[in-house]
């Protein structure tokens, strides 16, 4: 007998509410916290751990003292109870932020920070008017002038090398592509070594625009961390890109240099590089050259981060299918255009988590400069502790410094997630 399976539905079913055992808070608790014996044990253990930590720390935080002139005064106020003495931060926050920067000139780093946010806006967010990029382009010179003072012309003249290089490239490009690249490299170098000095001097004579100079050894605190961190971040990304491209190049000489650089820098602890910056460079440089210590540190930190960056970006480049290169070639795009328009946008997008990872590492590594005598926040915490008033304060300073670093790094992390979401076009 053939089975009867012919069936036609005659009326459609209406939509119904889910049963009460599938929704609601209790269900959530049961499914997420107590869904089995092992999970129940883990939940209870975690609760116990959180309770233990909170009960030990809460007293310290809740009893904290914010107004006192010294640690002894703090202890007096606390009168034997456990409690934090955050008064050290209210007392010394200016030092923690600016180091020994002259206090009547605090407006200069403040303004520089504010302008930095303006300069960063067009780089970070798409809605900002594109014209602001011009401001971003001159910002480095402006910030240098605000922070270090002196005449505004030398930093502007140094910066002028970049448009010069571009113009040189454009002029030579019709003749030969490789020659043009060389010209683009040679023009800025010639400018810096031969013309920048005299031109800057002449311009400074015509229109001084001077601020009171501030020496590098007065810089400190979070200002120093931000200067080193932001400059390192801004420089290490392009350098890392160039190194990654160089490593992929067919030109064997270039490739060897890039591989050698990356492997050497990655294989050496950052602290060694910093000591090199602070001590050894003096032996190599001609006697009498005054090569700013912050600049030296920035260079070393940049090199260090760039080597890591190059490897992160190389991973992104390797993840792109060959077809993307071929399509770009087949359309007649030359190497740089293909890189800029097709390859790098995609490779960098893939590498965002790794790039931001490197940025965060770099920013936290700026605290290592304490070992070569620069007064970053950690260095200042030592200096503050060395005073008679605050001798013996440890945790409060470290909690504060740690919190500040955390805010910066967490911000970068959130931004990178936002960026990944914004750039997501693959719809997989």
């Amino acid at each position: 007998m053939a089975q009867e399976y012919s069936y036609v539905r005659t009326e459609m079913l209406p939509e119904q509410e889910p049963p009460s055992n599938a929704v609601g808070a209790l269900v959530w608790v049961r499914e997420n916290l107590f869904s089995g014996p092992l999970n129940t044990i883990l939940t209870l253990a975690s609760l116990a751990a959180v309770w233990w930590i909170l009960s030990h720390l809460s007293g310290w935080f809740l009893n904290s003292v914010w107004q006192a002139g010294s640690l002894a005064e703090c202890r007096e106020i606390l009168d034997g109870a456990t409690g934090a003495c955050f008064a050290v931060i209210t007392d010394r926050w200016e030092q923690l932020l600016y180091g020994f920067y002259p206090s009547d000139a605090y407006w200069r780093p403040n303004l520089a920070l504010l302008l930095m946010l303006v300069a960063l806006a067009p780089v970070l967010f798409p809605g900002v008017p594109r014209k602001l990029f011009w401001f971003s382009a001159i910002y480095p010179a402006l910030a240098f002038w605000l922070l270090w003072g002196g005449s505004i012309w030398p930093p502007l003249v140094v910066l002028a090398a970049f448009p010069l290089g571009f113009i040189a490239y454009r002029l030579v490009e019709p003749i030969n592509g490789i020659l043009a690249t060389l010209a683009a490299l040679a023009a800025p170098i010639l400018w810096w070594f031969l013309l920048a000095g005299p031109v800057g001097g002449v311009l400074a004579g015509i229109l001084p625009g001077t601020l009171e100079p501030v020496a590098s050894d007065l810089f400190g605190g979070f200002m120093l961390s931000i200067i080193i961190g932001v400059t390192g971040i801004a420089l290490s990304l392009p350098l890392g890109i160039l190194l990654a491209l160089g490593r992929q190049s067919d030109l064997i000489f270039l490739k060897t240099i890039c591989v050698g650089f990356i492997e050497f820098i990655r294989g050496v602890p950052l602290i060694t590089l910093l000591f090199t910056a602070s001590l050894l460079l003096n032996y190599f440089l001609p006697p009498g050259t005054n090569f700013d210590i912050i600049l030296r540190v920035v260079i070393m930190v940049t090199f260090f981060a760039a080597a890591y960056m190059a490897e992160v970006i190389r991973g992104g480049l390797a993840a792109l299918p060959r077809g993307q290169y071929e399509a770009a070639d087949a359309l007649g795009l030359d190497y740089w255009k293909a890189q800029r328009l097709i390859i790098l946008p995609q490779a960098l997008k893939i590498s965002i988590p790794g790039i931001v990872n490197t940025f965060i590492g770099l920013f936290k590594d700026t605290t290592l400069v304490v070992f070569i005598g620069l007064l970053d926040p950690i260095g200042l915490s030592n200096a503050i502790r060395a005073t008679t008033e605050w001798n013996g304060v440890y945790w409060e300073l470290f909690v504060f410094i740690g919190l500040c670093f955390f805010i910066f790094c967490f911000g970068m992390s959130r931004y990178s997630m936002y960026l990944e979401r914004r750039l997501k076009t693959d719809h997989r």
Binding site: P321, A327, D329, A330, L333, I342
Partner: protein, 266 residues
């Protein structure tokens, strides 16, 4: 043996503009290519006149892709000459750029740029290579997107389109450079059957307008309908070439017969 019967293409083809001229578009003489020590292309001689529509077929690994990729220098040949539109392909980058901007290429896997919209995919090369103002480039792009029948997708990203639509965008993207020669490397072999037809239709329209085309494809219906010459390759060599009718109905070499019997399913 039973005579293979390639299926007829269903649409009526307008042949009024399909004229083969005397002007030589591509000239390849005694060309050889090696991958390491593997001799992948052996003594290739062929000449393509303007307006020709050539289908290249052959078993897998016979060097079909390598041959057409040599024509726009995605692959480098080691001996012999390749002259495209009067420009010889040498290591001179100027010549290579010139040839590439004259020759469009469509790939098996589309190779659209996933981070750019369809419109941006189509305007990128005209703007950056041909230096056409953005507005004009967009106009041209919309014109060709209309031609491949997907203007409404212009602002989407490649990932949002079906395979057939992506391949048509890839064709439009090439056409936006106003190429004089089009190369196709198995443009339909990554597609589902119902999408193959829409891509082939686009290619037939292109042929009807008199475009010089070289297609690596196993779509024998397409070859029958528009090709004026079929080239059969095996082991890096051109084994047989003929006009489609003679090629399919009366193949000469045993290799061709074997290949045709396999591909036409007898």
């Amino acid at each position: 043996m039973t005579e293979p019967q390639p299926h007829e293409y269903e649409r009526e083809i307008d042949r009024s503009h399909m004229q083969v001229t005397d002007e030589v578009a591509i000239e390849i003489t005694s060309m050889n290519k090696w991958y390491g020590s593997f001799h992948v292309l052996r003594d290739i001689n062929m000449s393509v006149n303007r307006g020709e529509r050539i289908v290249i077929c052959g078993p897998s690994g016979s060097g079909k892709s390598t041959l057409i990729r040599c024509i726009n220098r995605l692959e480098e040949h080691q001996s012999g000459r390749i002259v495209v539109d009067g420009t010889e392909l040498t290591s001179d980058l100027k010549n290579i750029d010139k040839v590439r901007s004259e020759v469009g290429m469509v790939f098996q896997h589309f190779n659209l740029f996933p981070h750019l919209t369809i419109l941006e995919n189509c305007t990128l090369a005209p703007i950056w290579v041909r230096k056409i103002p953005k507005k004009d480039a967009e106009e041209t792009a919309m014109h060709f997107l209309e031609k491949v029948k997907i203007p409404e997708q212009a602002l989407k990203y490649p990932g949002q389109l079906s395979g057939g639509q992506q391949q048509r965008v890839a064709i439009a993207r090439s056409l936006c450079m106003r190429p004089r020669i089009m190369l196709f490397d198995e443009p339909t072999s990554a597609l589902d059957p119902e999408m193959i037809k829409e891509v082939l239709d686009t290619m037939i329209e292109l042929a009807e307008e008199g475009m010089t085309m070289l297609c690596v494809t196993h779509e024998m219906g397409f070859a029958q309908a528009v090709a004026n010459r079929v080239i059969f390759m095996d082991q890096g060599q051109i084994v047989e070439q003929n006009e489609p009718k003679a090629f399919f109905n009366n193949p000469q070499s045993d290799r061709t017969k074997l290949f045709l019997s396999q591909i036409l399913g007898h």
